[in-house]
């Protein structure tokens, strides 16, 4: 029995980091269009998770999924071992977004949007003098994040690692096909009908010109121009005879 007791005491002697049982997650409410972009993502603030640690600095640790396990909690923030500028080339994770419990009051007031945008600081991304820069993420990930509370330089509490966060990758616009619009039914109908009408008219014109001068077509409807023909009344023999007969 002594052995298990010793083992239990050992972690306590080293200043164990308490797991506060919170898992960081991407913001679910409100629905954000820019929840993940190509180089940023948006986390919920860790409200009501570090309530017991009013003296601690709460840092965000960002790591790649495959290197997260190699991260050591004792690496201090603001050092080259946790500098944003060295991630992911020479360090497995970086620490950024320093805050205290005062920044994350509990409970969260309703109606307020309480988020952390990871990757929003572009001005210090190349500045080695700012190792805690919240710079844009260098690739699509997947990333894991967790919050770490430090008192002084001792880590005292941490959250779970989040689920893997995948960022968006953009396609080239050359992949957009612009040739897939077919011909609409209206256009086909319009073309067909107009072509037929035009063909009929041309045929009519040809018929007109061929039969120009021949009376064979339209015989009964031949009519005269108004002023050419005048009808003259003839006095027939018959009319003059009648008065003579009366006498």
């Amino acid at each position: 029995t002594m052995l298990p007791l010793l083992l239990l005491l050992l972690p306590a002697a080293h200043g164990a980091v308490e797991n506060v049982g919170y898992r960081p997650l991407l913001t679910e409410s409100p629905v954000l269009e820019g929840l993940t972009t190509a180089s940023t993502f948006v986390l919920d603030q860790p409200r009501c998770a570090f309530d017991k640690y009013s003296n601690a600095d709460i840092w965000l640790v960002v790591a790649l999924e495959k290197t997260a396990t190699t991260f050591n909690n004792s690496v201090g923030p603001g050092t080259p071992e946790s500098a944003f500028q060295n991630f992911p080339a020479s360090v497995p994770a970086y620490m950024t977004l320093n805050a205290t419990l005062a920044n994350y009051p509990c409970p969260k007031p309703s109606g307020e949007i309480t988020v952390l945008r990871v990757g929003s600081e572009t001005s210090c991304a190349e500045d080695a003098a700012r190792p805690t820069c919240n710079g844009p993420l260098p690739g699509p990930g997947p990333y894991l994040v967790k919050f770490l509370a430090l008192e002084g330089s001792e880590p005292v509490a941490e959250t779970d690692w989040s689920k893997p966060i995948m960022l968006r990758t953009a396609k080239s616009p050359n992949s957009i096909s612009t040739m897939d619009g077919g011909h609409s039914a209206g256009m086909i109908a319009l073309t067909t009908i107009l072509s037929i009408l035009f063909a009929i008219l041309l045929a009519g014109l040809v018929a007109m010109l061929i039969f120009w001068g021949s009376d064979s077509c339209g015989g009964s409807s031949t009519f005269s121009k108004p002023e050419v023909v005048t009808v003259r009344r003839y006095n027939t023999h018959h009319v003059y005879d009648q008065p003579a007969a009366r006498l």
């Binding site: 820019g34 616009p173 319009l190 073309t191 031949t222 009519f223």
Partner: protein, 260 residues
């Protein structure tokens, strides 16, 4: 003979009536096409950049055809009243030429309308909007036209991109080359603006909080006027041509019956 005279007078009356309608429709066509060519919605630069601006060519043809129809209808009326074979022959031949031009205009407008899909505008917006290195003078002019037009459309219609702000995220673009993704997930013009033309809440816009950015796509705002333009030219022209067809057939019949 009297009955035949009546028939002739009726035919003359009908043809004159037909020509009057053609004349009025010609003027209406000219007016409609002038309206479309004047581009009240300012969408011409977008079409010009897609090199697909033939619906404007169709409208230009429509202007001249409308005028020709008006002039020819007067010629037709004179020819019918005088029953002059030569005049009417000239009328018929010129009308057939005008018919052919108007047919070309209608078919062009209808065909090219079918090319104007969302993908066409999307590709062109991604390739030209705020592109910073023009390849030549022509490219520079198109870039300016596209950029100004999109800025105007997005602000006036409270929309973003062709299908939505995600267009800027899903595809790389000329815009993305000069504007980093973290600072500009989408252009500033997609943000809800205040009275001074500045974003109301820049952080809210960058995050994509509903109410601080325009979440709709602009395709409806573009395709609405363009469709009206194309269908107006195509179908009104088609209606005029159908009517003209009937009048021309009647005129040919009348012509063949005139004694020479």
């Amino acid at each position: 003979m009297a009955k035949s005279d009546d028939c002739i007078h009726i035919l003359q009356g009908l043809l004159i009536f037909g020509n009057v309608i053609i004349g009025m429709c010609g003027i209406a066509l000219t007016a409609e096409c002038i309206y479309f060519v004047s581009d009240p919605h300012g969408l011409y630069p977008l079409l010009e950049a897609t090199e697909n601006n033939d619906i404007y060519a169709a409208a230009w043809i429509g202007i001249f055809v409308g005028f020709a129809l008006f002039a020819l209808s007067i010629l037709g009326i004179i020819g019918i009243i005088k029953s002059d074979r030569t005049l009417l022959l000239v009328y018929i031949i010129l009308m057939l030429i005008t018919f052919a031009f108007e047919m070309a205009s209608c078919i062009t407008a209808a065909t090219h309308r079918d090319f104007l899909t969302p993908n066409l505008f999307l590709k062109q917006m991604l390739e030209r909007y705020q592109k910073s290195e023009p390849a030549n003078n022509n490219d520079k002019w198109m870039i300016e036209g596209v950029t100004k037009t999109w800025d105007k459309i997005m602000v006036q219609n409270h929309c973003c991109g062709v299908l939505g702000p995600s267009d800027w995220q899903e595809y790389t673009s000329a815009f993305r080359l000069t504007h980093s993704d973290a600072d500009f997930p989408w252009p500033r013009k997609c943000c809800v603006m205040d009275a001074q033309g500045l974003p109301m809440n820049l952080d809210g816009c960058k995050l994509g909080v509903p109410g601080y950015y325009n979440s709709n796509g602009c395709y409806d705002a573009i395709s609405g006027p363009v469709n009206k333009h194309a269908w107006g030219v195509a179908w009104f022209g088609f209606a005029i041509l159908c009517w003209t067809f009937c009048v021309l057939l009647g005129t040919m019949f009348y012509w063949s019956g005139i004694e020479y």
